[in-house]
């Protein structure tokens, strides 16, 4: 399979003092795929993602994002990625439209482009009546859908989603994944961390992190086959059974 590699990590390690948060992880993500980054709380998912986004400098190892080196070209990386943080990442005291305008603005979208984009986004999300309401007054599911749309407002090559569906009901989660699929269809590579195993099934390939290591990396089907399991839950239990770290 000859595919363009958009994320490549090689022996990527982050240490905080004696604590090794991510230990020599090596993987590749292909253009256009939905890559699930799974693991229990404290397994090192967020740390790994922060290194890939340029929020955190690796202790050792190499990584390139969209072909750019994480050490040398962080500015070029920033132009090619979108990011949605674990904490809800919009301004609650700004309206829906103002949030879109702001994030579009800092990503350098042209006024005309931004105007059209704002209108389009508000319509696709069905927020026409809420466009001028403060984001803080919206239900959490809508906020998260909006946050995702804002994270890809500049049509990045890759979008990093850090546990995007925390605290959301299954129906909203399903709708959220529809947005992810739509973005993926447009060619945006999705890198998503989660600890919901049902979401893992939605991914093209997943990696399982346990105690800072990547313990498994394959498509959900292959992983289930390899572990003789019928669900991803079983696969996860199989892999995470020996975990030393508990929680965050």
């Amino acid at each position: 399979m000859q595919q363009e590699i958009v994320i490549s990590a090689h022996n990527l390690t982050k240490k905080f003092g004696d604590f090794v948060a991510t230990n020599q992880i090596t993987f590749e993500v292909y253009a256009g795929e939905i890559f699930g980054f799974l693991g229990a709380n404290g397994a090192g998912k967020t740390t790994a993602m922060k290194m890939l986004c340029g929020l955190s400098t690796p202790s050792s190892g190499e990584a390139t994002i969209a072909g750019f080196d994480v050490y040398k070209e962080p500015d070029k990386i920033k132009q090619n990625i979108g990011y949605m943080s674990q904490k809800f990442s919009l301004y609650e005291d700004l309206t829906v439209a103002e949030n879109i305008q702001f994030f579009g603005g800092i990503y350098g979208l042209k006024s005309k482009e931004l105007k059209a984009k704002t209108k389009e986004l508000i319509e696709t999300l069905g927020l026409t009546n809420e466009a001028h309401k403060l984001v803080g007054s919206l239900p959490i599911g809508w906020k998260q859908k909006l946050a995702f749309s804002v994270a890809i407002i500049h049509e990045p090559k890759i979008v990093f989603l850090d546990e995007p569906t925390g605290g959301v009901d299954p129906l909203t989660r399903r709708q959220f994944w529809d947005l992810i699929y739509a973005a993926s269809d447009r060619g945006i590579t999705i890198f998503v961390t989660t600890h919901y195993m049902d979401e893992a099934e939605y991914c093209d390939r997943i990696s399982m992190m346990v105690d800072g290591y990547i313990k498994a990396l394959d498509s959900p089907e292959n992983l289930k086959k390899a572990h003789g399991a019928s669900t991803m839950d079983e696969v996860f239990f199989n892999l995470a059974r020996g975990a030393q770290r508990q929680g965050d």
Partner: protein, 368 residues
């Protein structure tokens, strides 16, 4: 540039949509000016006194009239006996008593001198000193009016002129102090809290992942608060010159220039504080601790720095507010120009440059 304006607009939304921020921003200067201008003053007006007049003669009566006519005193009662004085003090009505001895005029004219006793309640030493000074000044004044112009006797007359503040008004001290306090407090609080809020909300991560230059994050945060602080300064100046007759004798431009430097100092300090904490409450607390006490104690507007032991004077010297205070007083009251305050301006600029570099450096480190 487009990015920058988008960011600045967002900052203004934050300010104008948060009643607490607005109250802090514009309520504080007004409250401070009114507090310090009207309520907290070291001038003593209409202090109640008692007079024991054993003399009951012309000179004593004239002098009592003069005392009563002054804005500082109000004769509450004329007592017949000095034994009643202590009761009056104990009752807490009066702060000062004046006793005229028997045959006051007679002694004065025949012997060339006479005595008046002033008794002050020194349980509050400052008030006691101030009040007895007021009384002595009135008596001295009266005495000089008694001496005929052609008198040949040798005498040295002191001629006291209180220049720059002839009425010895307290606001001349307080307004510059309040300016320093408000500019520092508002600047430090606003910046630190607004940056820490982004961290708390998780939006800081998103900003740092975006191609928006981190340095621009700082500048875009600073710009709105810089202008709001200038508006604040204008409010203080307008209030103090209309309500309190505070003069602005020197160049307004120089005044705003010095204030702009102080505001930048405050913004850098706020940035510095925001680096050391992740919660808004902590940021607020640190800002108050770091700013409020030292500014109140060591700026010189509440307690004269000259009387402090040298270690404390040293502390005062490293505080920007002290230098700003000197500049503002010189410019507003004495009407001095650049030539007289360039040294203080340079010191203030040096401190600001140092703090700004330090805070920007620190901010960058956090990104790694």
């Amino acid at each position: 540039m487009k990015q920058f304006t988008a960011f600045v607009r967002k900052e203004f939304y934050h300010v104008f949509r948060d009643p607490k921020t607005l109250l802090l921003l514009f309520g504080m200067p007004i409250a401070q000016i009114i507090l310090f201008g009207f309520a907290l003053t070291n001038e003593i007006k209409n202090s109640k006194i008692v007079v024991v007049n054993y003399a009951q003669d012309e000179e004593a009566r004239q002098l009592i009239n003069k005392i009563e006519a002054s804005a500082n005193f109000e004769v509450a009662e004329q007592l017949m006996n000095h034994r009643e004085i202590e009761d009056a003090f104990k009752a807490g009505i009066i702060k000062l008593a004046i006793v005229f001895p028997n045959k006051f005029s007679q002694t004065l004219h025949h012997e060339g001198q006479a005595q008046i006793q002033i008794i002050a309640d020194a349980s509050d030493p400052n008030t006691a000193t101030t009040l007895s000074n007021y009384a002595q000044a009135i008596i001295r004044d009266y005495q000089s009016s008694l001496i005929p112009a052609e008198t040949k006797a040798l005498s040295i007359n002191t001629q006291v002129r209180m220049i720059y503040n002839p009425e010895l008004k307290g606001v001349y001290n307080f307004v510059p102090g309040v300016m320093a306090l408000v500019l520092l407090l508002v600047g430090v609080l606003m910046t630190s809290v607004s940056i820490v809020r982004e961290k708390e909300m998780g939006t800081m991560e998103v900003l740092l992942v975006s191609p928006f230059n981190p340095l621009l994050v700082i500048i875009s945060k600073a710009v709105p608060y810089f202008f709001l602080s200038l508006i604040n300064l204008t409010i203080i100046l307008v209030l103090s010159s209309t309500l309190m007759e505070m003069p602005i004798n020197g160049s307004l431009f120089l005044l705003y220039f010095a204030s702009a430097i102080l505001i930048i100092t405050a913004l850098s300090l706020g940035l510095l504080i925001s680096n050391s904490t992740d919660s808004q409450q902590a940021a607020m607390l640190i800002s108050l601790l770091v700013m409020l006490m030292p500014t109140l104690l060591f700026t010189g507007f509440l307690f004269p720095l000259e009387n402090m032991p040298w270690p404390l004077q040293l502390v005062a010297n490293i505080l920007p507010s002290k230098w700003y205070y000197i500049i503002v007083k010189s410019v507003m009251i004495k009407g001095l120009g650049w030539a007289s305050v360039w040294k203080e301006i340079l010191i203030l600029m040096g401190m600001t440059a140092f703090l700004l570099t330090l805070s920007v450096k620190k901010f960058k480190i956090r990104l790694a």
